[in-house]
């Protein structure tokens, strides 16, 4: 009988091993080769680990439009770096344009080496942007203004635009603006072959870190290794190895960072932050993000097609209470559609404030003295903050006699519903927006510009005067920021008057890091990215 038991266990084990071998003929993603061993084994005490909540998606800088920028921004570099204080040189040392912002010249940094050993030149810049445009996926649209590029010499490149645009800002984009090694990548094959090669965990960037290929497991951890020939040089207290460890559970990340098992993390439960602020093992970094929470009114459906109703509902939102209750103070009440810190944000914009009497008065004026209608509100399932906001506005609007039916939905589902047919879509839709690169145009165009086919204008808003103002502002952004700001202000005032959406709040980016590291600086232009090069041992 014992034999049978042993046999049973053996059969099960063998079955498991065989099945794991049969499942795929492809190489295991977590294997390491002899070369991997030698390259990392000697210098491991010098490791920094970033505990991150989501898995990596793709590693192709031309198409990646999601989480993986946390890897890409450490491995590749853009021509220009965005900071809240303005644009800074990165791979380009300087740039200038003609008077109307249609021809831009970038002067590149000399002596920059790719991880492959090749030297970066203007050809690489041209090739990288051309490939992104050719593939036309993900964030490729950022380069839309480009008519053609001209390589003047090895370290100078000229861009001719179809229409004026703030090209340095575009070139600083967290998505789709990384420069790749054209000489190396063109030997691999066509664009798809290159994408496959990159997605296996290889890179061709100039950044301070390079991906350790044999340790690339997008679901578990991504190991980055210092690139010795980095143009910025290295000091002794920087980290030789940086790891992005995927830990989806927030409370687990919290325990890990307090115990020092990981050194930095974000997106921890907001309720726990006050406690963490008192913990001597960790430091809490709180910076305003470029994210904003909106609720879009369905302006194509009664009664929300009535401006007065929308205004009334906008007055019946306790903005300050929401920030206190939902964000526990880790954020600010939104001042219009553009987050704080960006061009186009105005502290003194005429905002809606909580005024239930005014709301009742407006509703009566609109012909609904006691409310008496019902609205369907959708939000992204699983988002605790959105759920809380939905509950609060349901309670507040009830005071006006307006019933709200709350429907949590998977994001793709609620988006599909909103895009289907406005007359059957939800009445109110809640959603966050953050920019592809930090320009107000990305916000205002995507969410409020007239659209023939609905994409992100989920309030179905269309106002010619508004469109004209933002379109003109966008062309002036690169050459006359004051004029651009004036036009953006005009557009936002129109928007506040028409009230197609409610602007709730801008949450803060909150990073928690272990006392053993220092140098961390949040950059809202590169959301969720930790620049490991800035970090050093405390």
């Amino acid at each position: 009988m014992k034999k049978e038991l042993a046999l049973f266990m053996l059969v099960i084990t063998v079955m498991g091993v065989v099945a794991s071998g049969c499942l795929s003929g492809q190489e295991s993603t977590s294997t390491s080769t002899a070369s991997g061993e030698s390259s990392t084994s000697e210098k491991t005490t010098n490791v920094v680990i970033y505990g991150y909540g989501s898995e990596m998606i793709t590693l192709d800088p031309s198409t990646e439009f999601s989480n993986s920028i946390v890897v890409l921004a450490n491995v590749y570099e853009c021509l220009v770096k965005y900071t809240p204080n303005g644009l800074e040189p990165w791979l380009a040392t300087s740039w200038e344009s003609n008077e109307n912002g249609t021809i831009w010249t970038f002067h590149l940094r000399e002596g920059v080496k790719f991880h492959t050993g090749n030297t970066m030149t203007a050809e690489d810049v041209k090739w990288s942007i051309e490939r992104t445009l050719r593939m036309g996926l993900g964030p490729a649209f950022i380069w839309d203004p480009i008519e053609k590029m001209e390589v003047v010499n090895d370290y100078t490149i000229k861009f001719y635009l179809k229409y004026p645009a703030n090209l340095p800002l575009i070139a600083s984009s967290a998505y789709g603006a990384y420069i790749m090694d054209s000489k190396y990548l063109s030997t691999i094959g066509d664009d798809n072959a290159i994408a496959d090669w990159l997605n296996q965990g290889q890179d061709a960037g100039t950044g301070p870190y390079t991906i350790v290929k044999d340790k690339y497991d997008p679901k578990t951890e991504i190991v980055l290794e210092k690139f010795s020939d980095y143009w910025g040089g290295w000091s002794n207290d920087q980290f030789d190895i940086a790891v992005i460890k995927i830990v989806p559970d927030a409370s687990l990340r919290e325990q890990m960072v307090t115990s020092g098992e990981i050194q930095i993390t974000r997106d921890l439960p907001l309720d726990d932050l006050p406690k963490l602020q008192e913990n001597p093992n960790v430091k809490v970094d709180q910076t305003a993000s470029y994210q904003e929470l909106y609720a879009f009114f369905n302006t194509k459906k009664e009664p929300l097609n009535n401006k007065l109703v929308r205004q009334a509902l906008s007055y019946a939102v306790p903005y300050k209470d929401i920030v206190d209750y939902v964000l526990h103070g880790y954020g600010e009440v939104a001042k219009g559609p553009i987050p704080k810190g960006m061009l186009g944000h105005f502290e003194d914009l005429n905002m809606y404030t909580y005024d239930i009497d005014k709301a009742k008065q407006l509703l009566a004026q609109a012909g609904y003295p006691n409310g008496g209608f019902k609205l369907v509100l959708t939000y992204t399932q699983g988002d605790q903050a959105e759920a809380k906001v939905a509950e609060i506005i349901k309670a507040e609007w009830k005071k006006l006699g307006v019933e709200v039916e709350i429907r949590p939905m998977n994001w793709e589902q609620q988006w599909a519903l909103a895009k289907s047919d406005p007359s059957k879509a939800q009445d109110v839709l809640m959603m966050y927006w953050w920019p592809t690169y930090p320009t107000p145009y990305d916000f205002l165009f995507n969410m409020f510009h007239c659209e023939e086919e609905i994409n992100f204008n989920l309030c179905y808003y269309c106002n010619g005067e508004f469109d004209k103002a933002i379109d003109e502002a966008a062309t002036l952004e690169g050459i006359n920021q004051d004029k651009a700001a004036q036009l953006y202000r005009k557009a936002e005032e129109i928007l506040m008057e028409d009230a197609p959406a409610i602007f709730f709040y801008n949450p803060d980016d909150v990073y928690v890091y272990h006392k053993s590291i220092a140098g961390f600086k949040d950059n809202p232009g590169y959301p969720q990215v930790v620049f490991f090069y800035d970090l050093h041992k405390a």
Partner: protein, 339 residues
């Protein structure tokens, strides 16, 4: 029916079961309104990018055609590409499967090692404090939720005692210092095969808490089964006769009684494999174990239907095979059961 014919018959049946499961899951996942193309392209896509993705993913085709396309790929061993991770589902599943299987095996090992002696001892010392403790332990194991056990174990062994790691399969730094050459995907086995002792020790430490958490349910189940069968057997005449002959108690308990009591327990062990597979889904989330459960949870939440289908196929196949093996062992053990 002969034994060999029976196996073939069951295997053919298994194929139909799996096809049935795939069909149901495929069509149900298409009925739920969602936009896989939007998930594929990422955060703020343009309509053109979505349209292109729709073509690439064959989403414009009729559902039946999509199903035929899926089955055809399946026949070629291709489980499709995950909409969320853009990875071939088979590649994703491979590493996840071995991680889960290692965890389940460890849990079953712990369960057997603890539950069988505990069950025997409880039966022998019926109504003693050991028996009472065994019964409470067994009932708690079966009825208390795994995530509760998991968190309690983490609090005790990680937070207060600091002797076992919190989560994951192996420590990042240990893995960097002593790179593991992966052969089978089972870290314990691979580290032994390549004689990588630091990784073996670390992987073992990481395995203890999740495996123990996962073992609680089968421990309860098997203890109860062994105990009740042992009590029944110990009341049989032949055992009384054995006592009368003055045979040593060890021989009576372990050779005569346990031999007869263990057959049904063995079935329970087999079936508890299936339970632990489901239990692992939750335990993996608590311990950040990169296995099937964690993969499935995120696939379901994001409506990544090729991944959901992949997990379903693997789980269904495992279920069918475990049941088949249990049945076969039962037949071998008890010839009275007809094929």
């Amino acid at each position: 029916m002969r034994f060999r014919e029976y196996i073939v018959y069951r295997l053919v049946l298994a194929v139909f079961v799996i096809i049935g499961v795939v069909t149901v899951v495929f069509f149900v996942s298409r009925i739920i309104p969602s936009d896989p193309a939007a998930l594929w392209v990422g955060a703020h896509p343009t309509p053109e990018a979505i349209e292109r993705a729709r073509e690439q993913l064959h989403l414009n085709d009729p559902v039946v055609k999509q199903f035929a396309y899926y089955l055809w790929s399946l026949l070629h061993g291709d489980l499709g590409v995950s909409i969320r991770t853009h990875n071939p589902v088979a590649v994703d599943l491979k590493s996840a499967f071995t991680a889960t299987f290692e965890l389940i095996l460890a849990a079953e090992f712990i369960a057997i090692v603890i539950a069988i002696p505990l069950g025997v001892y409880s039966a022998v010392k019926k109504d003693s404090w050991v028996d009472n403790f065994g019964r409470v332990f067994a009932i708690s194991g079966v009825s208390l939720p795994a995530f509760w056990f998991g968190i309690v174990l983490q609090l005790i062994f990680f937070k207060h005692l600091g002797i076992l790691p919190l989560a994951g399969r192996v420590d990042t730094v240990v893995m960097l210092e002593h790179p593991l050459h992966v052969i089978t995907g089972f870290y314990l086995l691979d580290s032994l095969l390549t004689w990588n002792i630091p990784v073996f020790v670390d992987a073992l430490k990481h395995l203890i808490l999740p495996a123990l958490t996962l073992a609680m349910y089968p421990i309860g189940l098997i203890t109860r089964q062994v105990r009740s069968m042992m009590i029944e057997v110990l009341n049989e005449n032949y055992i009384r006769t054995a006592w009368a002959y003055g045979l040593p108690s060890k021989k009576i308990y372990f050779e005569y009684a346990l031999k007869n009591a263990i057959a049904p327990a063995l079935i329970t062990v087999g079936l508890s494999f299936a339970y632990t597979l489901v239990g692992a889904f939750l335990v993996e989330l608590i311990f950040n174990w990169p296995g099937l459960g964690r993969y499935a949870a995120y696939a379901i939440l994001s409506m990544d239907y090729p991944a959901v289908l992949g997990v379903t196929i693997i789980t269904a196949t495992a279920y069918v095979f475990i049941n088949l093996i249990v049945d076969l062992i039962q037949v071998k053990l008890d010839p009275r059961i007809r094929l």
